[in-house]
Symmetry: C2
Subunit: 611 residues, 2 copies
């Protein structure tokens, strides 16, 4: 996961960022783990509200990327043995560049320092020597103590957490740096489950670990994160997806070519156009860019603050043929939310080389093919005396020729070359056999298309894009305009006075039985209860008042507009379901039911109990 520090259209507002992080801690969204022990950099705990939001994101991802697409889901361990990462390449190449300050001992990510100081946007792909030069030339200083870093070595640091499996010194294992490897390494069993039919997709939602040199910006760059990944195994010669479902999905694209031309603004297009124009080379990649774009919007990501940026050369991971990142604008920076990568046959070919099992599928031909195989049996009693020490090599060349170009053996003699020397061999000394076999298919190493999503960063983005502040009568009020489909609490139910407690609690019980996330609150005045719910992003509040006993209606309040309508208790289940699913919006309710007051902002609800 990389961040592109290029400035976003709007300037960063550090105060707002700090207030959002403070809100997240105070109201139980997320906070640094083990604060009582000074914390550990890069580790965060999701409190009750944050865990609920994160779960909603995970469930929505599962619905869209697994269930709706017919992809299965597995659950593999987070610790994997060393041979997996020898094969995958992570042991050799999953590095960041580290420079340590000789004065204060602080470690820094060298490429980020250079990006911050020098006029370079993307330093990750540069060799360490070049980074050292840039540090020297630009007189980069240690951000912690100010000492000059010039002359300090820049070294590769592997980002995997290592541990030892088993007693004694154990055997080395690593916390997986991506959930993907748990899928690739057991491809043989998963292919069997899919009955060997391509394409098939396997998803996983779970932890991944990266021992970042400089974790920063709360949950945006952490050492333990949650990924939701789909590994789609496709036939490299097979057809692409049916684009129909997402052909018109809008994409804001920033291609590698445009970036090299100095462009920083994405241009708007559709999936169909991007495929037709060849901007996105692989149709599966384009398909999932479309799915991702629509999904992010449905989650509550501001579409104007979302773009898809293609990796430029040098930026791509060691396994990627092509990759497009979904990036959201947060605090004035573009932050990577997801990558949709074409990994080619890299992963399965690597495991195929290193492991004992079959990392391919058998592709049946439409009809069986008859194949002629020519083989040769050179007569060594003839070749030996003639070619001496080169005789075996001559025989090997003849065998290779039989596979490559059997017709050349039809003549009376044939010329083979060994170490630059041409030998003319009498074909009478070579027995040529031709066998005809029927082949029903062939073994194919599938290619992998990988939409890989970061869950933590999306949670942060949803909070950031939903964060609202306004001032009412000199007091700053904060609300989170979270989408009803992901809000930790869909509705809060309040009794206006003590006389309505039982009725309110009965409504809570009924709504919970229907599977809605509902809170009950009877403490403090109504205005204050609204503020509390606004702060944690609860979209709707239901107030039970004395009229409820009389006419069976309650007040339903919309967080975003503070509008209120009077609806029958009996209609609540259906209305909340429709509001959550997006089948209705609040404006349509205001057209159907009596509107009450003119919003609680300017006309606060009465305070029966005071505080």
């Amino acid at each position: 996961m990389t961040e592109n520090p290029a400035p976003a259209p709007e300037g960063a507002d550090v105060d707002v960022r700090e207030r959002l992080v403070e809100l997240a801690k105070r109201r139980g969204f997320f906070f640094r783990t083990a604060g009582a022990y000074g914390g550990a950099a890069g580790f965060y705990t999701f409190g009750p509200e944050g865990a609920a939001l994160k779960r909603a994101v995970e469930n929505a991802w599962r619905d869209r990327f697994a269930v709706a697409e017919g992809n299965v889901e597995i659950d593999a361990p987070t610790v994997l043995p060393e041979p997996v990462f020898e094969a995958s390449g992570h042991l050799d190449t999953f590095d960041d560049m580290l420079v340590e300050c000789a004065d204060c001992g602080t470690s820094h990510r060298a490429d980020h320092l250079v990006e911050d100081h020098a006029d370079i946007e993307e330093a990750e792909g540069l060799p360490p020597e070049e980074i050292e030069s840039l540090i020297r030339d630009d007189e980069v200083a240690c951000p912690a103590c100010g000492a000059a870093l010039s002359g300090e070595p820049v070294e590769d640091f592997n980002l995997m957490f290592e541990t030892a499996i088993g007693p004694g010194s154990g055997s080395p294992g690593y916390l997986r740096p991506e959930t993907a490897q748990g899928i690739f390494v057991d491809f043989p069993r998963l292919a069997e489950y899919a009955r060997g039919q391509l394409p098939f997709g396997v998803t996983q939602i779970g932890r991944a670990y990266r021992n970042e040199i400089s974790p920063r910006r709360s949950i945006l760059r952490v050492r333990e994160l949650t990924q939701a990944e789909l590994e789609l195994f496709v036939d490299p010669e097979g057809g692409g997806p049916d684009l129909a479902g997402v052909a018109d999905a809008e994409l804001r694209l920033l291609s590698a070519e445009a970036q090299l031309d100095g462009e920083s603004e994405p241009y708007e297009t559709t999936v169909r156009e991007a495929v037709d124009a060849g901007t996105v080379g692989n149709e599966w990649v384009a398909y999932y860019l479309g799915v991702a774009s629509e999904w992010y919007e449905s989650m509550g990501v501001d579409p104007d603050r979302l773009r898809f940026r293609q990796h430029v050369a040098g930026e791509r991971a060691h396994y990627a043929v092509d990759c497009w990142d979904a990036e959201s604008e947060v605090d004035g920076d573009w932050v990577e939310l997801a990558g949709v990568a074409d990994r080619g046959d890299y992963d399965l070919s690597k495991h195929r080389e290193h492991a004992d099992e079959r990392f391919s599928v058998f592709r049946q031909y439409d009809e069986a093919r008859t194949v002629e195989r020519t083989d040769v049996d050179p007569d060594m009693s003839e070749l030996g005396p003639r070619y001496g020490g080169d005789a075996e090599a001559v025989a090997d060349e003849l065998r290779a020729l039989a596979g490559r170009d059997p017709e050349t053996l039809d003549g009376e003699s044939v010329t083979v070359t060994v170490d630059g020397t041409d030998y003319q061999v009498d074909t009478g000394h070579v027995e040529v056999t031709t066998e005809t076999t029927t082949e029903t298919g062939e073994h194919v190493v599938p290619h992998v298309i990988e939409p890989s999503f970061g869950v933590d960063r999306l949670v942060y983005t949803l909070l950031d894009h939903a964060y609202r502040e306004d001032e009412v009568e000199g007091e700053r009020r904060t609300s989170l305009a979270l989408d009803p489909s992901v809000a930790p609490t869909l509705a809060a139910v309040f009794p206006l006075t003590d006389g309505e407690r039982d009725r309110a609690e009965a409504i809570v019980a009924e709504l919970r039985a229907e599977g809605f996330a509902v809170e009950y609150d009877d403490s403090g005045n109504i205005g204050r209860r609204y503020r509390r719910q606004d702060e944690v992003g609860t979209p709707f509040c239901v107030t039970v008042d004395p009229d409820t006993h009389a006419d069976g209606t309650v007040t339903l309040r919309d967080r975003n507009t503070t509008e209120q309508v009077r609806v029958p208790v009996d209609a609540l289940v259906a209305l909340l379901a429709a509001l959550r699913n997006g089948d209705r919006d609040f404006a349509s309710l205001a057209a159907e039911y009596p509107v009450v007051g003119d919003g609680d902002g300017s006309a606060p609800a009465p305070d029966p109990g005071g505080e």
Copy 2:
């Protein structure tokens, strides 16, 4: 997690166990991870069916132990820094006993070896020296190579996986051995979220790690597991739970006392009786034993193969005041599924000692209390000359006395003892002050009640208790009688012939839109499709046939009885929902709808297409 190797009522059937594990691998429930690299002992991957079953278990646990009980859920990192485990005691005491064979180098869990060889049921609590003696006296041999282990040292081996956080040598961190510590360590923030009101409960579902010396029996003893834990923070002087909801829940209990009396059969009682008789000392523990008992049964655990066994002295973890394990009988052994522990104030007191923040809550008195505090100010210019080197100690004793027993300072003189010497002090040399303060409450360290559930072991138990074999016409048929509430697939839909494919696919789409897990299968004859679904525990199969076009009905088949009824397509959603929730059983459908055939076992469905 410990296993009690005491034999179960029924003998173990190793063949059945092997066939279950083979089924689990072949049909995608679980398999050893990275088999292509020889695997890593103690690490398993849940395939598509197993991951779905595991997720159903986790969701059901969340519904029952978090949502229904009003407990919140958090999501903390799996890697925690060392100070957390210094405080928790895991660094010192989370050990198993290791003995290594000098001949072949294999490591073994010493207490298990002794339990297998000597006439000892529970060796975990014995000191290493005693285990060494037992190995010598019983001539225990290495199970791997047969060499004598007598004389080999038995050593404590810490079960936590260690890693290094950050670059360079980093700072030590550990993979959490229980999810609980992620909750305890951030108690200050969680208490703030709960507004300091006891009792409050915090749950977490996630990975825990134990570097087992000898992982064994597939997913029953693994190195990476999933726990579902509830940490309930209660006021040690506060009231217990309302038992009403579970008072009549049945419990099969085996108390520590009964075990010491040589009893191995549990006796049947209820939660209310167990509390009244004092068998279960803590009412919160009893409450959650009742909840657990009912919940396990609802998941599909055979109630006759479930018991609750109290830990005997020496068996309890270092933090537990009391603990009852839920154990299920699997393959003839009793396996720990969960523990409901009274952890007392151990955890919060430990973190309170080691950390900087407040690990207590403020308990308001019903009414403010007036408290008199006596303090003394000894006149050192008088005491110094009189008591020389002991003067400071005498002053300290006087101050202590003022707090302990202020009345003694009312007289003209008072006697204090320093290092065995009595000094009679003139109270005229001591200024005594009395201050009256009003206190509104006090700081209380909550006690912790912890229901802790192992998810992997429950998944195994559900498969084991659901496993059925029978022979039909000389062929072994396997089915999994999984409960509809947890089965990976609720219903499979089959077109009888190609003519019904569209209709069948439309039904699948409709059922999926309602949130049901539904599979479509059109390959092979109907009997074979039934077999496939029976093997993965799909409770219901829907067959669309030519009559469906005419009368709008389909055949609905029950896996357990192979009975079939003819139901309207329009009724499917409601019927499947009722069957899944347990509101109806299949027998009630057979009473309402026409029964078809007499089950497919003896009268196989016609085979329209062959294979």
